[in-house]
């Protein structure tokens, strides 16, 4: 199995759903999730922009999760579905750049679904573990 980068998976979490689910985790499940991902709080996943997702990968994070409300339950109505479209664009760009689109994944978690969150993180780790490790940076931003 390919060795993953030292950096954690970045998980952009909607504060109304996925973040609450993460906070509801306790015991070993909480430790497992926190060891694998860096949680980033967003007011809504509609705030997750393509450039930001790509930048995480550029900085050496092995993968990015965007975790929003179930599409019909978004506090801002269309935030989750907008995020889904941006994630699709990002995955297409990754493919064009010769990287696996699996490095960016969107899922939908309600605030009471802490177990599902744990499973999403584990599955993401498994998908990433099956990939060739991403190459380290060469050129870069000034």
């Amino acid at each position: 199995m390919a060795k993953q980068s030292e950096k954690k998976i970045v998980a952009f979490c909607c504060e109304n759903s996925a973040l609450k689910a993460a906070e509801a985790l306790d015991g070993p499940a909480a430790l497992e999730v926190l060891a694998a991902v860096e949680l980033v709080r967003l007011p809504c996943t509609g705030k997750a922009e393509t450039g930001l997702l790509l930048e995480c990968l550029e900085k050496g994070h092995p993968g990015v999760l965007v975790l929003g409300c179930p599409a019909d339950n978004c506090k801002f109505l269309v935030g989750s579905s907008r995020a889904r479209k941006r994630v699709e664009v990002t995955r297409r760009l990754l493919k064009e750049a010769g990287l696996s689109e699996e490095r960016v994944h969107m899922d939908f978690v309600s605030s009471v679904d802490a177990h599902r969150l744990g499973r999403i993180v584990r599955e993401m780790q498994e998908r990433l573990a099956a990939l060739e490790p991403a190459p380290t940076p060469i050129g870069g931003k000034s």
Binding site: G51, L54, E96, A97, L99, P135, P137, G139, G140, K141
Partner: protein, 225 residues
């Protein structure tokens, strides 16, 4: 505004191949509004190119910046150093900006990252459509403010043709509205249908593309040298 779309990524990649120091230069005006070449898009394209370069093991340095406009000289001052340090500039301006950038930095390779499309409007976020073809002799007064040059596929001034069906144009019945149906509907709502009875004379196209490259000189505004 001038509208544009990003070139296919593979075409851009082939264009920038061989350069080791690339500046991706966005433009902060029209192409920002049509979400093709502004600061965000420059960032996304530069990131994608860096990730792709890394994947291929290329030793390529790619930086990005955006200026207010690439069609006016003064705005280039803020990026002069970055342009000079780069061995090529991938401009995300319209065709005007790309050309003007290479005029300002004579001797610098400036490459187009966009395909420039048309003068258009934002119908809604994410959807832009053509309104004007820059013919140089505007006739909108005669057609209720709907342009027959830009919005009729055949630029007919005495339309419609026989291909207009259910409001759609025969060139693409799914996607193109018949410009002449739009003209008719607008003139009707303005109570001006009788004006469409008049035959329009042959248009003088020399003020547009057919007259060669355009140039405007305003003697009263030209600065003394």
């Amino acid at each position: 505004m001038i509208t544009a779309v990003q070139k296919p990524f593979a075409e851009i990649q082939a264009m920038v191949e061989g350069y080791s120091n690339l500046l991706v230069l966005g433009c902060g005006t029209c192409v920002t509004v049509c979400m093709a070449g502004g600061e965000k898009e420059a960032g996304i394209l530069a990131s994608t190119l860096r990730l792709a370069g890394r994947q291929k093991g290329l030793k390529m340095r790619i930086v990005e910046d955006t200026i207010e406009r690439q069609c006016d000289r003064e705005f280039f001052d803020t990026v002069r150093d970055k342009v000079e340090a780069a061995d090529a500039v991938l401009s995300l301006a319209c065709g005007v900006g790309v050309q003007f950038c290479s005029e300002v930095f004579a001797g610098k390779r400036v490459l187009p990252g966009l395909n420039t499309r048309f003068y258009g409007t934002t119908e809604q976020q994410g959807i832009w459509s053509e309104r004007c073809a820059g013919c140089g002799t505007c006739v909108l007064d005669r057609f209720g403010g709907v342009c027959p040059v830009a919005r009729c596929s055949k630029s007919l001034l005495n339309g419609p043709c026989g291909g207009s069906q259910n409001g759609m144009c025969e060139v693409d019945q799914e996607n193109i509205q018949c410009g002449w149906q739009l003209i008719y509907d607008r003139m009707k709502s303005l109570g001006l249908l009788h004006l469409l009875e008049e035959n329009q004379p042959i248009k003088d196209w020399r003020t547009g593309r057919d007259g060669g490259p355009g140039k405007i000189v305003r003697e009263d505004m030209v600065l003394d040298t």
